[in-house]
Symmetry: C2
Subunit: 228 residues, 2 copies
């Protein structure tokens, strides 16, 4: 990959989707074309080729990709050949759900620390014997257990205070579920997931169906043309 040309976020996310598809293929299948990838994943073949071209130098059309090599390379690009140690901060319903989420199991994502501040939760064990630790010990535990990624599932009122603590902990990556956008720093890469946004995206699609007139050229943002 040309380091000057990092792929957009959407491309990196599609690599996960390609990988999932490649892993689901029968072992007898050795080659796969961009047309097949596109068809099975409801994507555009040109988009598939463009995505994969970020990571390599491809030539003639029409034959396909080696399933094994493509899978190995995507695993390597995504860093999935290494185990990532995960900590979850805030063991409410969502934190608990993530602590037990089956999807992480086979992906080299290992939940190895859970944090909360509610006294009655502390020392409780969840899933595979990971006990809930006092959140004030977060910086120490991150270092001791070599946590790579912290998942934040704390209430929005607590997110600023927790993020300040996270920034001092030395962790490199944060997945934030609180409905408040955290900004990445030079040392900490944050990815914000807002579950309302996912619903808003569907609401947009419903709106296209509800009232086609709403989506015609009649709808403009209502901003005078002299402004920007």
């Amino acid at each position: 990959m040309n380091p000057k040309l990092l792929p957009p976020q959407a491309t990196v996310k599609r690599l996960s989707i390609y990988l999932r598809f490649l892993n689901s293929l029968n072992k007898d299948i050795k080659m796969v074309s961009s047309q097949e990838l596109a068809k099975r994943l409801a994507l555009n073949p040109a988009q598939v080729r463009k995505d994969l071209a970020y990571f390599g130098d491809f030539g003639k059309r029409g034959v396909g990709y080696s399933v094994k090599k493509l899978r190995d390379q995507i695993n390597k690009i995504l860093g999935l050949h290494k185990t990532r140690n995960i900590g979850i901060v805030g063991i409410g319903r969502l934190g608990m759900a993530l602590a037990c989420y089956q999807g992480f199991e086979k992906k080299n994502f290992k939940i190895c620390a859970l944090f909360d501040k509610v006294p009655k939760l502390l020392s409780h064990k969840i899933g595979e014997a990971t006990e809930i630790t006092d959140v004030n010990l977060l910086p120490k535990v991150v270092k001791d257990r070599e946590i790579d990624i912290l998942i934040l599932t704390v209430p929005v009122e607590a997110i600023k205070e927790i993020y300040d603590m996270v920034l001092t902990s030395g962790v490199k990556a944060v997945l934030n579920f609180a409905p408040f956008k955290l900004i990445s720093t030079e040392n900490v890469h944050v990815h914000n997931v807002d579950l309302s946004t996912e619903l808003e995206f569907l609401s947009y699609s419903l709106n296209l169906n509800d009232d086609p007139k709403d989506n015609s050229s009649e709808v403009i943002l209502g901003v005078p043309s002299q402004l920007l």
Copy 2:
């Protein structure tokens, strides 16, 4: 909006982010520039202008957008001026977490049906008096309660069977959390959320830091140049 030029998914998702920022502004602030939006949201100003241009016809640079009009239009584009009735299928830990997720409260997303098949869960009430209904009644309840969006949080083994039932129910939109990609049909728009993908995206970022050599032009996908 030009109906021939639908915005990409990433643009629609950023509209939610713009809206959240606009809603957080002090009421005295009447105008906002693309530079401000970009700075506060860690985006590129050109990207902000491009996103908003999908929905309108903008002219000269340098003044800004009317906060009120921009907010009203984004609400309208996303269809957030209407209440959306939501049903959740599969009341395990994640389904329960979503049924109680605070973030949906103020967004016109109303949880009005919960489904499961486990006998001991049926008739239990969660949150604001929504009781868990037998999933076999899903098509009837979707019609009776005018459900707009179904959120699927069932185990991966059950997803195909549930999706077949969903397709017959008349619902228009589905948010799927099972780690299996469902394909939209002509009548049902599906948005798949895979929580592992979010972690994989962070793993990719960590990988860039771990081993810069891994991301140099030495890494290619390993596919012979004559293949595509």
